[in-house]
């Protein structure tokens, strides 16, 4: 029995829709494959394949003028290598900036599409339906906020501007008033006041709002901000999907929106704060001096690399607690060398990774993976915390607030309630620190004056290198 497929009845737009369906499935698979580091890379290729299918299909859409494809092709041919080069050249420590930049670029593209389509769809003001105009306003508004906010986040992370919260009187009120004005103008467009300039004003205002909204947020809170901007860009892409009536944009955008939202909530939870508190709290303005730490009771006990080396070499279990200070000092490779040296002696070495170690979700894992630390040694907080009780030495390198026991015990501490690594449960604690300055959040840490803690002062990289050679000669 032969079945002849009625292919002739499948129209061109059906084929294009099918191609978009392939893209959607690929994106979902790409995310699905990320559940396991062993398959994740394959998933990314599947995602890239889906994107290629979607892009090729787009050139066959009806109602487009083929002559314009020349320009589109030229622009793509020029910008693709730039994107690839940036992605190849970026240092892993600069990954948060890179992600912020891509968030911004995607958001910016969504806003520009809204602007261009508004012009096309509304030659006569007042003729645009509620659905299209609402999508255009949302896409323009959210895309612009995402673009401008991401650029500020980029500048902060790249240290083009200060990472400290930038505050001035009336800031919250001013931002709120601006947002209200933007929403008002948006509603005016929905109501039929569809002059070109109104949307341009909305976009310009949204750009300003994006800048003003990220300025007061401190550098240590960037993981939350980047995740949130990621969600914004996703939602802006989904809104663009409504503008153009393309399901592929709606689904893909919303997948990203969901991902960004989930990460935002996770990051805020890892800081023990609400998202609203992170965004509007202007954390990190508090400063505590070394004298105040000393006055808090007890004294710190400085030590030498040789003493620490003996302690480590004769330990059974060591947990390394890396913080962003380790990455700043570029000590990742030295730390891996130290771990290898200890493992040669039969010491069990693990890494305890706090969710907000680094400047974006999961950042520390990438930095250590780059230094060839096998990922099965990288343990997340909930998994490793019970193990500190049976640990001989906890080696804290460039981490501070995430090890602060005050978060558990002191209701007056600004980080009270933040989940922390239970470093103080280990038998011995060694803290590698540049000096007695408080951490990023500027909060004093009772761990440093704990009787079982010793402090090894100095640059993280040179301290770890000294430890490596000292362990070798034990």
């Amino acid at each position: 029995m032969s079945v002849s497929l009625p292919l002739a009845t499948v129209s061109r737009s059906d084929w294009i829709s099918l191609a978009y369906l392939v893209a959607i499935i690929s994106f979902i698979l790409a995310l699905r494959f990320l559940s396991n580091p062993a398959h994740a890379r394959k998933g990314n290729w599947i995602g890239a394949f889906g994107m290629a299918v979607a892009l090729v299909a787009t050139f066959f859409q009806a109602g487009l003028r083929a002559r314009e494809f020349i320009w589109v092709g030229i622009v793509m041919a020029v910008s693709a290598p730039i994107g690839a080069y940036a992605a190849r050249a970026v240092k892993m420590t600069a990954m948060p900036q890179m992600v912020a930049l891509f968030n911004g670029v995607g958001g910016g593209a969504a806003a520009l599409i809204a602007l261009a389509d508004f012009h096309r769809a509304a030659p006569e003001p007042g003729t645009l339906g509620l659905r299209t105009s609402a999508s255009i306003v949302l896409s323009g508004l959210i895309g612009s906020v995402s673009f401008a906010g991401s650029m500020v986040a980029f500048a902060k992370l790249q240290e083009l501007i200060s990472g400290r919260p930038i505050q001035y009187p009336g800031q919250k009120f001013g931002n709120l008033a601006l947002l209200a004005a933007l929403i008002g103008l948006g509603i005016a467009i929905l109501a039929g006041y569809q002059e070109q300039w109104v949307l341009i004003v909305v976009i310009a205002g949204a750009l300003a709002f994006g800048v003003l909204f990220v300025l007061p947020i401190g550098g240590a809170d960037m993981p939350v901000v980047i995740a949130l901007l990621n969600a914004f860009t996703g939602v802006a892409a989904a809104a663009t999907g409504f503008v153009l009536g393309q399901n592929v944009l709606i689904v893909s955008g919303m997948l990203v929106g969901a991902s960004g939202t989930l990460l935002t909530l996770m990051m805020a939870r890892a800081m023990g704060r609400s998202v609203a508190n992170v965004l509007f709290g202007a954390f990190g303005t508090l400063q505590v001096t070394a004298e105040q730490v000393a006055a808090a009771g007890g004294s710190v006990r400085p030590t030498t690399p040789e003493d620490v080396a003996v302690m480590l070499a004769y330990a059974q279990r060591v947990i390394i607690v890396p913080g962003y200070g380790l990455a700043v000092a570029q000590a990742q490779h030295a730390v891996r060398e130290l771990a290898a040296e200890l493992e040669k002696r039969g010491v069990d070495v693990k890494y305890a990774i706090h969710p907000v170690a680094g400047r974006m979700p999961g950042h520390m894992n990438v930095l250590l993976a780059e230094a060839n630390v096998p990922y099965d040694q990288l343990k997340e907080m909930d998994e490793i915390n019970p193990a500190f009780d049976q640990t001989d030495v906890a080696l804290v390198i460039g981490a501070n607030d995430v090890t602060n026991p005050a978060a558990r015990s002191d209701p007056s501490s600004p980080i009270y309630g933040m989940p922390i690594l239970d470093v103080d449960h280990a038998k011995n604690v060694v803290v590698l620190k540049r000096s007695m300055n408080p951490g990023f959040a500027g909060i004093d840490n009772p761990l440093f004056v704990d009787p079982k803690t010793v402090m090894l002062f100095g640059d993280a990289k040179s301290s770890v290198e000294k430890l490596v050679s000292a362990v070798k000669s034990v």
């Binding site: 979902i28 995310l31 699905r32 994740a40 890379r41 990314n44 995602g47 892009l55 787009t58 003028r65 314009e68 320009w71 589109v72 622009v75 793509m76 910008s79 693709a80 994107g83 690839a84 992605a87 190849r88 892993m92 990954m95 992600v99 891509f102 670029v105 995607g106 593209a109 969504a110 520009l112 599409i113 602007l115 261009a116 860009t233 802006a236 989904a238 409504f242 393309q246 399901n247 944009l249 689904v251 997948l255 990203v256 929106g257 969901a258 991902s259 989930l262 990460l263 493992e343 040669k344 039969g346 974006m360 979700p361 999961g362 950042h363 894992n365 990438v366 990922y375 990288l378 997340e380």
Partner: protein, 108 residues
């Protein structure tokens, strides 16, 4: 029109739930590649940018705006996938060296 809008809205809501479902299974280990990977996926706005850039009969400045969107979208897509690949390549399981393996066997 409204029917198709409701279909789109349905698709949006389902995608949101699916997204939460899939993403919650991604370990914290891979959250940075997750972000750069979703970065690449929202590069799908490039599809929209191409459509808008190739609409016939439009003002030059709109055409330029759309082409800028194409440029941003292209950089987003290509850069996103390349950087994600670069990161995921680095995540390796432990491969014990011969000496270490003997010790590991001894311990077991």
């Amino acid at each position: 029109m409204t029917a198709s809008f409701l279909v789109q809205l349905t698709v949006l809501v389902l995608a949101a739930f699916l997204g939460v479902e899939v993403i919650s299974k991604v370990p914290t280990l891979l959250h940075t590649p997750l972000m750069s990977g979703t970065n690449a996926i929202h590069g799908i706005v490039l599809v929209g940018a191409i459509i808008v850039a190739a609409y016939p009969h439009q003002a030059t400045w709109i055409h330029v705006v759309a082409l800028v969107a194409v440029a941003l979208g292209t950089g987003n897509v290509v850069g996103g996938f390349v950087v994600t690949d670069r990161m995921l390549e680095m995540f390796k399981r432990r491969k014990p060296e011969p000496a270490e393996r003997q010790e590991a066997e001894k311990r077991e």
